[in-house]
Symmetry: C2
Subunit: 265 residues, 2 copies
Amino acid sequence: MTVKQLSLPELTAACRELGVPGVGLWREPVQQYGVASAAKLVRDAGLTVTTLCRGGFLTAIDPAERAAALADNRAAVDEAATLGTDTLVLVSGGLPAGSKDLHGARERIADALAELGPYAADHGVRLAIEPLHPMYAADRCVISTLTQALDLAERFPAEQVGVAVDTYHIWWDDRAPAEVARAGEGGRIHTFQLADWTTPLPAGVLNGRGQIGDGAVDMREWRERVDAAGYRGPIEVELFNEALWARDGKEVLRETAERFALHAL
Amino acid sequence: MTVKQLSLPELTAACRELGVPGVGLWREPVQQYGVASAAKLVRDAGLTVTTLCRGGFLTAIDPAERAAALADNRAAVDEAATLGTDTLVLVSGGLPAGSKDLHGARERIADALAELGPYAADHGVRLAIEPLHPMYAADRCVISTLTQALDLAERFPAEQVGVAVDTYHIWWDDRAPAEVARAGEGGRIHTFQLADWTTPLPAGVLNGRGQIGDGAVDMREWRERVDAAGYRGPIEVELFNEALWARDGKEVLRETAERFALHAL
């Protein structure tokens, strides 16, 4: 998504050329390209698929909506398995229209995970609950902190459900460092993502994630924390940023790799 | 600030006419009108000044900036005392330019409170640390949760330092209900403010606070929590909203009073 201006063949070629060993994919471009074809493309380029984004949106009250969400998440698990990644990232969902019940929404996510966790594990896929920044609590994700994500994940086996640690969403939270350690102890850090926090935020607050090093987040400190928690998996840089999307994708990928090395290693 | 399109005389007349018994004031319009004149205006209208907004911005590293901030906060205390309110609300400040050190910024706030708390108490004024939504952590306020605000306030006597409980900033936080109880037990709820959470957020995320009842926040539940915590002080509605500012101020004030009665009482 950081370089969504690139087609999948452009992306895999650029990763290969720049020495980026893995890539996190989103469902929509993969579906458009064809899931099996995308899997072959990435495999032939010698890359691993780090994660698939995203499942989730599990807070619906309406039974038909709920059934559709579960079916879509099973499809996402199937796609992840086809792509050869072991991790499906979940954006859990916001409040249904007219509802003000955060607790109820969180419990419906738990109920859905009880169905999806075993299905995912049967396909060699782990679910990664991504706590989203509290500014998304109403409309995208009622899981707002790493604490909440872990409280939820720990109701299930770690090989079914863990968490996504993303600096953009948790950097402000003074409890998050201890929760990273807790997640590591439980083997529940299923992916680690970087984005910087820059201001002012754009309207809608979706596409203002900063390039590594441009913002308020101490990237090296977070990387070291996640290291210290025992995480040895891939590190993803996930930027939604209109300015980056307007530039040459390969140049943005090169810059991102350089910034990662400069600020996080 | 909810009806900043009204002059102070228009505001006090409208409050009196609508039966609104108190008003929270901001420093800038009060300074423009003259602090003593504003105090007389409000007193003559039979209104109380609930709080003065705002002091704070106490995170500077530079000694000259820091001294200026402390001086400005003492002036704010003086203004609060002149206005006859017992509460000065603090927006604590964000990260200094180039800094990524949230912990250090929070400790500088603590150092400043150690100087300002006794000064305020000597003038009959309590400082109210307002935790601001985490989306403001970088540029406005590194105190992002009621837990952090209370941890900080409790280093000082309650008659010097307490907290501002504002639904807009804390509604998403599953720990906040317990923290409201904790704040009440310690006599540290120094004001209670309402605003609703509506989406999409506008660019800059400052002026998108929703009218009571328009958003995701269960106002009655929060009002009952604060009641149960023993708070018996004024309840303020503080909306920063371009659409409300574009309307007739008196009409907005009437609507706000109606919404308060409908959704919070």
